[in-house]
Symmetry: C2
Subunit: 102 residues, 2 copies
């Protein structure tokens, strides 16, 4: 398995029993997964980036949240503008976006 | 946010619409999340390790699968014995378990 240059894990409050009612889900994090995928596609970063949705990270008060590995950079209070900036400045430009780091 | 020394992402086939019917889920990956948590607890590795369940990684034929970051080590064909060895040899001992790497 080839590890991507950037692997973005976005909390969608997936629960092991199948229900989804958590904070990030309520704050429309599913749309943010879609936004990441779309931005990565448009910027032709798909060979470097992978997006995966996850269960709760336990930091709901900072949601919606994601973490980018292998850098281990955590972002919170995400919205569509934040995702655009993370894709442009971090994934494409190589510089994490301090404004959204948690 | 403090990034853990090892962050283990285990596919439980979580789907964005809430249903769970994927391959890793059918192969009892939910039990493997529980096993990781239990082993990490018993070995007192909880300050170094975090376990998160995820949606599909797209490598179902190798499932159940997990990836450990920041190392970017992928494991497949997981069962309870594999989880024990990963906890003992990789998370505790620092040496990835070649037998299950994919």
């Amino acid at each position: 398995m080839i590890t991507p240059k950037h692997h973005i894990f976005v909390c969608t409050s997936c629960r092991i029993n199948g229900t989804q009612q958590g904070f990030c889900f309520q704050k429309k994090s599913v749309d943010l997964v879609q936004k990441f995928t779309q931005e990565i596609d448009e910027r032709e970063l798909y060979s470097d980036c992978m997006v995966t949705h996850t269960g709760c990270f336990g930091i709901c008060e900072k949601g919606p949240v994601c973490v980018v590995y292998p850098e281990g950079i955590w972002y919170g209070n995400l919205d569509e503008e934040a995702v655009e900036r993370i894709c442009e400045e971090h994934l494409e430009g190589g510089v994490p976006v301090k404004d959204y780091q948690i």
